[in-house]
C-alpha cells in the first residue's frame, strides 16, 4: 500500500469518526478541511534583494523586507511607486504581465516562491487577494464562496453548506444574505460585494491576506466595516495592505512600509514611522508635501 493511500484511509477513518461523533453534534465548531490545515501556526514572509523588471523598466529595486506575523502591514507611498507590483509578486499574479523578469528571493515559510518548483496554485491559495474594485465571480452568492473549495476538491454538499455559512459569518455578511444565497452575487451592494470577496478568499484558508487598496472604491461606512474586519482577522492571518489613504494606515497599521519610486525608503513599527520618521522623504510624504 502506497503512502498516499494509507494516509487517505487514515483520514477517511478519522473523518467517519468525526462525522458520527457525539462531540461534533454538540459543539458544532467549524473545522477547516484537512487539505487546508497549516503546517505551522506561524507564517513568515521575507523578501531578499528582489528586483522586478517589466520590459525595460526597473519597477522594484533591491527590496529587502520582512513581514511580521499576525499583524497588519501597510504599504504606503505615492502612485506608481510599485506597491501593487510588490503585492502581486507575493502571489505571482505578476507572471501574467507581459515581459516581466523577477530576480531575488521571496521566502514564504522559508521556501523561495520565485525559484522553487512549488505549485503556483497552492501558493496563490495561501495568499488571499482582495482587489481594489470588488470582483465577485459571475455566480450566485453561495457558489462564489464554494467555488474556491470546489477547485481544491471539496465536493461534499453538507460540508460546503457549513463552509459557506462559516465564512459568510466571519465576514459579517451572513445575516444580510442568508435568505438569498442563490441569488446572483452581482446584485449585492458594492460594500457587500467586497465583503463577499473577503469571505471567498478566507474560504480557501489563506495564511496571508493581500489587500490592494481594498477600500478605495467603497463608501466610508463600508470601508469602516472592512477595516474593522481586518483588525479582527489579524488574530489569525497576516494582513498586507496597500493603501493610498494615510489616515487608514494611521488607524489600523501595526507595521508600515514606505516606498518611493520602486525602493523601500523606510520600514518599521507604525508608531515609530508616524511619530518619528527617520528619512527626509518619509517626513515630507507624511506631512503631505507630495502624495
Amino acid at each position: 500500500m502506497s503512502l498516499k493511500s494509507s494516509a487517505n484511509s487514515i483520514y477517511n477513518q478519522y473523518n467517519e469518526w468525526w462525522e458520527s461523533s457525539a462531540l461534533r453534534r454538540q459543539v458544532k465548531i467549524f473545522r477547516p478541511d484537512y487539505k487546508f490545515i497549516r503546517k505551522s501556526e506561524e507564517s513568515e514572509l521575507m523578501v531578499e534583494n528582489l528586483n522586478v523588471h517589466i520590459k525595460n523598466n526597473h519597477i522594484l529595486k533591491d527590496i529587502n523586507l520582512s513581514i511580521p506575523d499576525k499583524k497588519i502591514t501597510c504599504i504606503i507611498g505615492p502612485s506608481g511607486c510599485g506597491k501593487s507590483t510588490l503585492l502581486k509578486t507575493f502571489n505571482r499574479l505578476i507572471d501574467s504581465v507581459e515581459g516581466v523578469k523577477l530576480d531575488g528571493k521571496v521566502l514564504i515559510d522559508g521556501e523561495d516562491i520565485i525559484h522553487s518548483g512549488q505549485e503556483i496554485t497552492e501558493l496563490r491559495r495561501k495568499m488571499g487577494l482582495i482587489s481594489q474594485r470588488p470582483c465577485p465571480l459571475p455566480m450566485s452568492i453561495f457558489e462564489n464562496i464554494a467555488y474556491g473549495c470546489r477547485i481544491h476538491g471539496i465536493r461534499n454538499r453538507r460540508k460546503l453548506n457549513m463552509i459557506v455559512q462559516h465564512y459568510l459569518k466571519s465576514s459579517g455578511l451572513w445575516e444580510e444574505v442568508k435568505d438569498r444565497l442563490r441569488s446572483p452575487a452581482a446584485r449585492l451592494s458594492i460594500g457587500q460585494q467586497q465583503r463577499l470577496c473577503l469571505a471567498r478568499s478566507l474560504a480557501v484558508e489563506p495564511q496571508f491576506i493581500l489587500a490592494d487598496e481594498a477600500t478605495s472604491a467603497l463608501d466610508p461606512i463600508s470601508s469602516k466595516i472592512i477595516e474593522d474586519l481586518f483588525v479582527k482577522l489579524k488574530a489569525n492571518y497576516s494582513i498586507i495592505m496597500v493603501t493610498h489613504t494615510l489616515h487608514q494606515a494611521l488607524r489600523i497599521a501595526d507595521y508600515v512600509v514606505f516606498m518611493y519610486l520602486g525602493e523601500i525608503i523606510e520600514a518599521g513599527d507604525a508608531q515609530q514611522i508616524f511619530n518619528n520618521p527617520q528619512h527626509e522623504l518619509t517626513k515630507k510624504y507624511l506631512s503631505g508635501a507630495f502624495s
Partner: protein
Amino acid sequence: MKFFIEKLMRVLMILSLLLVFGFVFSIVFTIFSKGWSAMSWDMITKLPGGGFYIGKEGGFLNAIVGSLYIVGASTLLGLLISIPVVFYLNIYLKKKSKLAYVTRLAYDVLFGVPSIVYGAFAFTIMVYLGVKASLLGGIIVVTLLIIPIFVRSMDEVAKEFPREILDATYSLGATRLETIRVVVRQIAPGIATATLLSIGRAIGDAAAVIFTAGYTDSIPTSLSQPVATLPLAVFFQLSSPIAEVQDRAYAAALVLTVIVLILSLLGRYFTNRFSKNKLK
C-alpha cells in the same frame, strides 16, 4: 438649423426601421398567403405518399424531422468544438499572440465562404472516400459551416472578459483550465446568441446539404442513410411545374419560418435566464 437636422435624422432613422419591418412583413405575408391554402395537418404529420410530387396525398414530415436532426446534432457538435477554441484563444493565448491573430483571420475567411463551397468541398471528399450522401455527411458539413459563426460571435464576447475576474479566480488557486466555469458563466449570453445565429444559418441552408445529405421520402434510421431537409423541400417543390406542388413549397417555407421563430423565442428566454449572473 440644429433642430431641423435632428428632426430630419430622426425621420430617416424611422424610415429605415420601417423598411426593415416592411421586408419582414412582406416575406411573412407572401409565405402565409401562398402556403396557407396548402397547409394542413397532414402536411406536417405525414410522409410523402406515392403521388406527393404531382399533387396527391402525403406531407413533408420527412423534411421537418431531417432538418431538426441535422440542426440539433450539428449545433451540439459545433458548441463542443468551438467553446474550447474560444477558451484557448482568450485565456491561454496572450493578447498580441500571432497564432490568435491568424486563427481569427482564418475564421473570418471561413465565415465568408459561401455554403455551396462547403458542400462542394465535402462532396469531393465524400466521393474520394466512397461515401454516399447521408445524414452523417449533412451533419458534418453543417457543423463545419456553423463553427466559424460560433467562434467569431462568441469570441467577440469573450474578448471583453474582464481581466479582474480572471485574476480573482487565479488568486483562489485555480488553474487556467479551472477558470472555464467562470468564463462560460460570464459569456453565457454570448454563447446563447451565437447558438441562435448558428441555428438560423444551419436550418435554412440548402446549398450545403444538397450534395451531402441527399433527399429521401423517409425518415432516416441510421447515420448512413440520406436525409431530407426543409430548404431542399422548398427548392424541389418550387421547381415543379404543378401549381399545387408549388403551394406546398410555401407551406414548407412557412413551417421553416415558424420553427426559426420558436427557436428564437426560446433562445431569448434562455439568454435572459443565463445572463442573470453576469457582471456588468
